[in-house]
């Protein structure tokens, strides 16, 4: 079990930022009218997010921002998509026919070109601050879109490859461990969801009851949010154990299993869809490792082909189930790859001009936002950073990006203040 050792920390000589009882208090921005706030809450209801985390840095040139005919473009051609005038790499023929659900953002300039720093930025949507542990996107979604008493997990992460796993931040930060991910590192099923054979179901349940009684005595006359969360966590165990079947894809009809196919990424994406369908608000399926310093084109031939298949199968499946309208599917990396091709026919780290996609919920499909110059070396139009992307993602699922948490007396907006959403890609 990898209990994700949360990077939130510093209790001891602590870096306190929170006053009083309760985890970070949450308030809507004061300038929002009550009725509007209410309608926004309604809007959030039932929304889900599925992040395809392309760890190591997928090449924008071999996916969503091809540069055919340029020396930087590589050997693969661009193909026409279902959206007139929009071309993507020929490695994505399936997505090309489904692009009406997807918005491409081609103008990310995120500045951080190392895996660790880039991955943190693209998980948190902002730079680290030494004294405030920010929640990652998943924890925010778990909190904003989840239900407190949910019997399904509200934040699940798959990351089976070992490379770069430590960079794939799963931290609830100041939101508290209640919103930390269930972090799956081996296979498709979470560990510890299944009762050990050494104990009967009855004893398992009654043992937990005994624990509850003993702990209840202790909590009398004592107040602490952490203490409360301890018993809440144990209270969720039995419910979560009953969700074990969600992680079992053999319960899907064979036709669906066949559609997704046999690769690990595909199977985990199918589990993700099962979770989304059952009400889990945020699932991250990590596909590692894209870091093609050598043989970029062979690596991308393999992995983009898989991505194309998995992503298009997922969008089809969500649509057929009527879930796409309420499910936002994101593809994101820590950065893109250099337009310049190195001697090993590889591409290196590149955070200056790269792409991400948003599909489904709240998204104006078929749009392309921003552009890069003819060689892909610089952003030409619509430069945006992590903050704008995150603001847009939150807005797409009905969360006000200016929503503020109170950490102590300090208001902390969901994204850095002054950030504008990319309204062009929102429905």
């Amino acid at each position: 079990m990898t209990l994700q050792n949360s990077f939130s920390r510093r209790r001891f000589l602590g870096q306190s930022t929170l006053v009083g009882a309760g985890a970070a208090a949450s308030v809507m921005s004061l300038d929002i009218l009550k009725s509007e706030a209410f309608s926004k809450q309604l809007k959030q209801k039932g929304k889900r997010v599925l992040l395809l985390w392309l760890a190591g840095g997928v090449s924008q040139l071999e996916t969503f921002d091809p540069k055919p005919g340029r020396l930087t473009g590589g050997p693969f051609q661009a193909i026409q998509t279902a959206v007139p005038g929009v071309e993507i790499s020929e490695l994505m023929p399936k997505m090309a026919t489904r692009l009406k659900h997807t918005a491409i953002i081609r103008s990310l300039n995120t500045k951080i070109g190392d895996h660790g720093g880039g991955a943190r930025l693209m998980h948190l949507g902002r730079r680290d601050e030494p004294n405030l542990s920010y929640p990652d996107m998943g924890s925010v979604m778990a909190r904003e879109l989840g239900r407190p008493d949910s019997k399904v997990p509200d934040y699940v992460t798959f990351y089976t490859a070992t490379e770069g796993r430590g960079n794939a931040v799963g931290q609830a930060g100041f939101l508290g461990s209640r919103y930390a991910p269930m972090f799956l590192t081996t296979g498709n099923k979470p560990q510890n969801l299944e009762r050990l054979e050494s104990i009967s179901d009855l004893d398992h349940r009654e043992r937990a009851d005994l624990r509850r009684v003993l702990s209840a005595r202790f909590t009398q006359g004592r107040v602490s949010p952490a203490l409360g969360s301890h018993n809440v966590a144990y209270g969720r165990v039995r419910g979560l154990m009953s969700s074990e079947a969600l992680f079992d894809i053999t319960r899907e009809p064979k036709s669906i299993q066949d559609k997704y196919g046999p690769s690990l990424f595909a199977q985990q994406t199918l589990v993700a869809r099962r979770l989304i369908e059952a009400g889990t608000p945020f699932v991250k399926v990590s596909r590692a490792w894209w870091d093609s310093h050598g043989q970029n084109f062979e690596t991308h031939l393999e992995m983009v082909t898989e991505l194309d298949h998995v992503m298009s199968t997922l969008l089809d499946d969500l649509q057929e189930r009527g879930l796409l309208e309420d499910t936002l599917v994101i593809t994101l990396s820590e950065f893109g790859r250099t337009p310049t091709i190195n001697g090993s026919l590889g591409r290196d780290h590149f955070a200056r001009a790269w792409s991400a996609t948003l599909s489904g919920c709240g998204i104006r499909g078929g749009t392309v936002f921003g552009s890069t110059d003819e060689d892909g070396q610089h952003v030409k139009d619509g430069e945006v950073g992590a903050a704008e992307l995150f603001a847009t993602i939150y807005a797409a699922v009905g969360i006000d990006p200016q929503h503020e948490y109170y950490v102590g007396s300090r208001p902390v907006p969901l994204v850095d203040s002054g950030t504008e959403v990319i309204s062009e890609v929102l429905a």
């Binding site: 051609q77 490859a161 490792w289 690596t299 393999e302 082909t305 090993s344």
Partner: protein
Amino acid sequence: MAEIGPKFFKEVKQISRGDILLRISHQASMQSVYVGSSDAKIYSVDPLADKPEFHEFQGHTSYVMGLVDTGKHLVSGSYDRSLIWWDKESREIVRRVEDAHDRWIRNMFLSPDGQTVLSVGDDMVCKLWDAESGELVRELVSHQKITPNHFPNMLYATAVSPDGKLIATVDRIAKIKIWDFKTGEEVTEFEAPKCYTWDPQKRIHSIGGIRSVCFSPDSKSVAVGGIGPIGNIDHLESPGRVEIFNVASGEKTHEFEGDKKIIGLVEQIVFHPSGKWLMAVGGKETGWVQFLDLEKKEVIRQIDAPMHVHQVAVTDDFSTVYGAGHGKLIVWSLVQ
């Protein structure tokens, strides 16, 4: 007469360019060579001229990955899936076969009698074309389209034996197939599994594959080249690798693993006509040339190249080697 041999190998000239030169073919009767580029063009050039001029052949839309000179025509193949027959003088297109392969064309070869052009592509088919008419003569189909780990396979290279009887094809998952040239039947299959690294745990993808294949002058053996097992498959950080098989028995007779100077892919293998030694070229960020003694089974010489070498063209007497590679065209001499 001046002696010729690996010990005299030296650089004569190099020409720097902004593109990647992937393929090269030498015109036996002339000073010039043809090179295929990442800019989708082919160029003819006399590299030894005082001011070498590159003359364009324009017609492909992606990397040029095959280039053979049939005498009458120059024939090229590309990632754009097409084959083009060119008039060498006018540099005009004589014939274009669109969608010659369903997927990207990886390499080409000309049969020793000059009658047949062979092409291989990621549709995993080796196609035989009439060099003159451009008609499709035969398709060799049996390489797996999908790797055991459910990813697309790639068919990297092909060669015909000097006696014209056999064809060899090599793929990503390090399978070597031998075919009867006349009938098109699959004769036998070998494997060089060390040339393919599948990383199931750290990075969950693959690297390697057999990138080069060449028959021995007596047609009895086939040599293949690639890269050895790689720890970090995002880099070409493993020794280049040459293995030689006896075609009749299937026995692996030679196995050369590069040392720390020979890191990266073996992109091409050329036997000396004597059959006593061979030359292997390749690289990673930069490249190298390696001469291997087949009798003593040892390295004769290895020399750094200023760039990753993708292909070489060798004069018949082995006096001159033209190298195409990353950002450079280079001329080496083996003459004393």
